[in-house]
Symmetry: C2
């Protein structure tokens, strides 16, 4: 099955490039509210399901034992921009568990956001593991392992209890067994398991609707989602699209990007979850489509709020002299 | 027509993302040596045809009048990285025509290559129009306008003689009339006209084979292509893919990237030209495909050289801890 063209990039009135993909918007029973493309093909969810991976941080009692704040829970679900505030708060999280940066096994990278990276360079600094966009998730993993008295070294490996707990939570939410033949290594060295988009969408719908999961698991998921919606900057960063989506409807929309064109999210009031993947992995397209899927979910509930997300789904493109040269827009989703 | 999948990105043994596209590899008569996908659909060539746009710089006598060096001709065809050497040489080119940076109408941007941008930031500097990847092309436009005594202001506009001359050279090479309904504004504010890939490929083949164009035009094109092959760093930059392609077969392969997944090139010995476009605009895919197209062109001529380009067509992907996580590879082109 060839996925449909869902996002177009225009120049001078012509379509210059286009992106194919698939999305699933589902309710608590897993029924489709809307969908397009092949939502049964296994895809790697990458960072878009950090909420699922952080569930054991709550369920084991580690978050409560170390007195993690809502902002710190948001960081545990974050792909943050490595800004000063992110780095400082992840350091504080690790300190609550008696650890510091060298315990992290996520690796180092310059912040993805060019202005943040240039500011670091301007100060003559270099990135540390705390700057890694996944450092908050890793701090959460480490807090859990410390709380349970587990060996810390190798906490990123597939057979470490930290990763086995995350896998078990994901399997429960997605409703699929995650097997080694569908396993890859993520950018930050932890395993990532491929599963169908409809499963990831259903997992988010289960958490916000409370259907099909034990109440404790739904409660853990909801506190993480709530923390992200309250602290969107902590889970993303300045001028990031996840922040823009959540700031457009405070407390009503959760949205999380993942590498290679993945986006997941939830609409707690409606009990809906969604998941999408752009075939070619382009973030510009996954962002536009995420906004359009939220708009579609809200269309009959709140037309004016839906219109705000329609606006976010279209982006005017300007060149270096700020001249308008085209736009990024979503097709066929109204 | 849906273009075929030409490039795959894998993770853990599965295909995570994939790129569709089209390419044309043609001889001096415009006959197909190889092709895939829809090569008749108009696409914006963007920076991949800077050689065509620089032809008037030679044909008007401006390059000779100002004594432009081969390195400066390569800069006139460049999408350079904005490194110190590029900035200095473009400044020198402008000075030969009695101009400096404020004459440029290309706009400013931070160098695309993150290490180059960070080094600039580290020194507390900011980009000037000389850092714009197109500044060499614009310096070439200005040299021509000065040489012919034309008004300089507005040299980027579609109806300025500078752009009309470039358009006329492109129409001759591509064999199509370029109309205003197929015109967009490029990143550096000059017009870019959409035309079929087979036309761009044929244009490069005409220049290197000398067929189907007046000898003076072929000669102008060949001196530019020769200059780029002799000075690949000037027309791209440190660790750039254009440089890698040309360094792999000095004097035997010309290759030039363009925005939104376009790549053009030529094999002078064989008299072939090629042009390709990735539907979704991804550079990682256009680079891999360009190497594979060159490999295909060389397969029967020089198998060991072809193997070098096959190697360039595949890239191992490593994560932040340098662990191998997957690869980018070209499908179906052997």
């Amino acid at each position: 099955m060839t996925n449909p063209v869902l996002v177009e990039v225009t120049r001078g009135g012509m379509v210059e490039s286009f992106h194919r993909g698939a999305f699933a918007l589902v309710d608590g029973e897993g029924g489709f509210v809307a969908s397009a493309g092949d939502v049964g093909r296994p895809v790697f969810p990458r960072s878009a399901i950090k909420v699922f991976q952080a569930i054991p941080l709550i369920e084991t009692g580690a978050a409560a034992a170390f007195g993690l704040t809502a902002a710190e829970l948001a960081l545990a679900c974050a792909s943050h921009s490595g800004e000063d505030g992110h780095v400082r708060q992840v350091g504080a999280m690790l300190a609550k568990a008696g650890l510091d940066a060298p315990a992290l096994e996520c690796g180092c990278h310059w912040p993805f956001d060019p202005p943040v990276a240039r500011e670091l360079a301007r100060r003559g600094e270099r990135p540390t593991p705390l700057h890694n966009n996944c450092s908050g998730k890793h701090a959460g993993f480490l807090c859990t392992a410390v709380h349970l008295g587990e060996e810390l070294r190798g906490y990123v490996e597939r057979d470490h209890p930290v990763q086995l707990r995350a896998k078990s939570a994901i399997e429960d939410l997605v409703g699929e067994e995650l097997t080694s033949d569908a396993c890859g290594i993520d950018g930050c060295s932890i395993p990532t398991f491929a599963a169908p988009l409809r499963g990831f969408a259903h997992g988010f719908a289960k958490l916000v609707s409370g259907r099909g999961v034990p109440p404790e698991r739904a409660s853990a998921g909801r506190s993480l989602i709530e923390a992200c919606m309250t602290h969107p900057w902590e889970m993303s960063g300045t001028e990031r699209f996840c922040e823009a989506l959540m700031a457009a409807a405070p407390g009503r929309v959760f949205a999380k990007t993942g590498a290679e064109g993945v986006f997941c999210g939830a609409l707690p009031e409606l009990g809906f979850g969604f998941a999408l993947k752009i075939d070619d992995g382009a973030t510009r397209a996954s962002e536009a489509l995420a906004a359009a899927v939220v708009a579609k979910a809200l269309r009959h509930e709140d037309a004016s709020l839906a219109a705000r997300f329609d606006d976010l789904a279209t982006r005017t493109l300007r060149n270096w002299e700020k001249r308008e040269v085209g736009e990024i827009r979503v097709t066929e989703l109204r």
